[in-house]
C-alpha cells in the first residue's frame, strides 16, 4: 500500500445517555487504501462516520487526518480538510437539478464574492462547471444533468450522491452503504466506479457496507464492528474465516 497513514482513529468512544454506540474503536487508513467497515445494523458503522465528519461529537478518543486532529471541527470544516461522505438514505437536495447538486459539491472551492453574485459575474461558476462536467462524464450522468433530483430513479440518485461527494475533491471519501438497495447489476456498476475513483482521482476510500461480498471484493482491508466494538480486523479472507463474524454476520449462509 502506497503512502503513510491518512486517517488515524484512536480509542473512539461515543455515548448517548446510557447507550454506548462506539466503545473505544481504533482504526487507521493508509493513503490510497480502501478500507471496508462491516457489521450488522446498529453495530455503530454510521456513528463512526458521523464522528469522523463532525456530525457527532465523540465522548472521548481522537480522530486525525494526515496528523491533524479533526475533533471539534464543524462538518463543513471537516469537509474543507478533505473528507467527503455519502449518506445511507440519500440526502440529496431534491429540489435542485443534478447539475446544481454537483455544483454544490464545489461550494467549498468557490471564491465567494457577494459582489460577483449580485452582479451576475459568473467566472467562478464556469471554472467549476468544467470540473463538474468531468464528474458528470465519469458517472454517466449526462442525460440527467438538468433533471430535478426528486424525479430521478434511485440508482441515478445514488450516483449523484457519490458524484457530489467527489466534487468536493476529497482526500478521503466515506461511502455509507453505496450498494444498498441496488440490483445485482447496479451493484456491479457501482463497484466498478468505486474502484475507478481510487485509480482515477487518487482518493482514499472508507466504506461502510452491509453486503459482505461487495465489501470484500472492493477493499484491501476490513474492520468488523459489532455492538459498538471492534470484533476483528484484517484482509477480507481473514475476516471471513473469523468465527465471530460467521456467527454474527453470515448466519444466513
Amino acid at each position: 500500500m502506497a503512502g503513510g497513514v491518512l486517517l488515524e482513529v484512536r480509542d473512539l468512544t461515543l455515548r448517548f445517555g446510557g447507550i454506548t454506540a462506539l466503545g473505544g474503536i481504533d482504526l487507521s487508513i493508509a493513503e490510497g487504501e480502501t478500507l471496508a467497515v462491516i457489521g450488522p445494523n446498529g453495530s455503530g458503522k454510521t456513528s463512526l462516520f458521523n464522528c469522523v465528519t463532525g456530525l457527532y461529537r465523540p465522548t472521548s478518543g481522537s480522530i486525525a487526518l494526515g496528523g491533524e486532529s479533526l475533533l471539534g471541527l464543524s462538518p463543513d470544516r471537516v469537509t474543507a480538510r478533505g473528507v467527503a461522505r455519502t449518506f445511507q438514505n440519500l440526502r440529496l437536495f431534491l429540489h435542485m437539478t443534478v447539475l446544481d447538486n454537483l455544483m454544490l459539491g464545489r461550494h467549498l472551492h468557490f471564491r465567494k464574492s457577494l459582489l460577483d453574485a449580485a452582479l451576475r459575474l459568473r467566472g467562478e461558476e464556469l471554472r467549476h462547471r468544467a470540473r463538474v462536467e468531468e464528474i458528470i462524464e465519469f458517472l454517466d450522468l449526462e442525460a440527467w444533468r438538468d433533471s430535478r433530483v426528486a424525479g430521478c430513479s434511485y440508482g441515478v440518485q445514488k450516483r449523484v450522491e457519490m458524484g457530489r461527494a467527489l466534487a468536493t475533491e476529497p482526500r478521503l471519501l466515506l461511502l455509507d452503504e453505496p450498494v444498498s438497495g441496488l440490483t445485482a447489476e447496479e451493484k456491479e456498476e457501482v463497484s466498478y466506479w468505486i474502484n475507478e475513483i481510487r485509480g482515477r482521482f487518487g482518493v482514499t476510500v472508507l466504506l461502510v457496507e452491509h453486503d459482505l461480498r461487495v465489501a470484500s471484493r472492493l477493499s484491501q482491508r476490513m474492520v468488523v464492528l459489532d455492538r459498538g466494538l471492534k470484533l476483528t480486523e484484517g484482509t477480507p479472507e481473514e475476516v471471513q474465516r473469523h468465527p465471530g463474524v460467521i456467527r454474527a454476520y453470515l448466519g444466513d449462509q
Binding site: 445494523n41 446498529g42 434511485y154 440508482g155 440490483t183 445485482a184 456491479e188 466498478y192 444466513d252
Partner: protein, 263 residues
C-alpha cells in the same frame, strides 16, 4: 399449483398509477392472489414495488388512474385509506409505521380500533403467542425496540385487524439474518392461519424461500410471474437478483455493465 384454482382474494387488473399527473410509476400491472398465498414481488429500487402496495392500500390519492383492484370481488380502488383498511387490507410500510413515542401496548391497542373487546383480547393473545418477545417488551416505547422487534410489533399490530390481505413492504430491511428468519417463519404461520400476504422484498433469496408464487416488477411492469421454483431457475433472475449467475464473477475484476434488454 392446485388443481382447481381457488377464488382470487385480491385481483389487480391492469392498473396505472401516475406521479404528478405524468410520470408512470405503474403501467398496466395485473396480479391475482388466492386464499392463503404468500405472493412476493421482486424488483430493483424504483421499479414501483412500494407504489404498487400503496396504490392497493389507497394511500395515493385518486390512484390508480386506470384499472381495477378487487378484494373478494369488491372494488377497492380509488378509495380512502381508512375505507380500504375497513375492507380488510392492512399495509405495513417500509418504515413499519409504528408510533414511536407510544408504548408497545398502546401501539397494539390502536391496532384493535373499532374491534369488539372480546375478539380483540383473544387476538392479542394469539399475537403474543406468535411473537413472545412483544409480551416481554409490552411497556417499552416502540422507539426503544430493536429493528426485528419493531417489525414484529408492526406485523402483530396489523394482525389484530384480522386482515383478509396483508401488504408488507420490505419486512427484512435492516434486520439481522436471524431476525429475518424469525419474521419470515411467522409469515408462513400467518398465511396458514388464513391471511393472504402480498410481500415486496429486496432480499430475493429469502422471499423465494417462503413465497408460494412471485412476480418480478421492472419499471412499472410485471415482467415475470411464476412459482419460486420457476423463477429460481430462470437465468436472468439467477444473474440479477440472486447474484449466482454466470455474470457474477468472483475475484477482483469488474465489468461495467451496459444496459441490455432482458425478458
Amino acid at each position: 399449483m392446485t388443481g382447481s384454482p381457488a377464488p382470487a382474494v385480491l385481483a389487480v387488473s391492469s392498473i396505472e398509477t401516475l406521479y404528478l399527473d405524468r410520470i408512470y410509476a405503474l403501467s398496466g400491472v395485473s396480479l391475482e392472489l388466492r386464499e392463503r398465498e404468500i405472493f412476493a414481488v421482486l424488483g430493483p429500487n424504483g421499479a414501483g414495488k412500494t407504489t404498487l402496495l400503496k396504490t392497493i392500500a389507497g394511500l395515493l390519492r385518486d390512484q390508480p388512474k386506470k384499472g381495477t383492484i378487487r378484494l373478494d370481488g369488491r372494488h377497492i380502488e380509488r378509495q380512502q385509506p381508512e375505507d380500504v383498511a375497513d375492507a380488510g387490507v392492512v399495509f405495513v410500510a417500509e418504515d413499519r409505521g409504528l408510533f414511536r413515542e407510544l408504548t408497545v401496548a398502546e401501539n397494539l391497542e390502536l391496532g384493535m380500533w373499532g374491534k369488539p373487546r372480546r375478539q380483540a383480547r383473544e387476538d392479542l393473545e394469539r399475537v403474543h403467542d406468535l411473537f413472545p418477545r412483544l409480551r416481554e417488551r409490552i411497556d417499552q416505547q416502540a422507539d426503544s425496540l430493536s429493528g426485528g422487534e419493531q417489525q414484529m410489533l408492526a406485523i402483530g399490530r396489523s394482525l389484530l385487524r384480522r386482515p383478509r390481505l396483508l401488504l408488507l413492504d420490505e419486512p427484512s430491511l435492516g434486520l439481522t439474518p436471524e431476525m429475518s428468519k424469525l419474521v419470515f417463519e411467522a409469515l408462513v404461520q400467518i398465511s396458514q392461519a388464513g391471511t393472504t400476504i402480498l410481500l415486496v422484498e429486496q432480499n430475493a433469496r429469502l422471499a423465494l424461500r417462503v413465497a408460494t408464487r412471485a412476480a418480478i416488477l421492472e419499471t412499472g411492469r410485471v415482467v415475470l410471474t411464476g412459482t419460486p421454483q420457476e423463477l429460481s431457475e430462470h437465468p436472468d433472475v439467477r444473474d440479477v437478483y440472486l447474484g449466482i449467475g454466470a455474470a457474477a464473477t468472483e475475484g477482483k475484476s469488474f465489468r461495467l455493465y451496459r444496459k441490455r434488454r432482458r425478458w
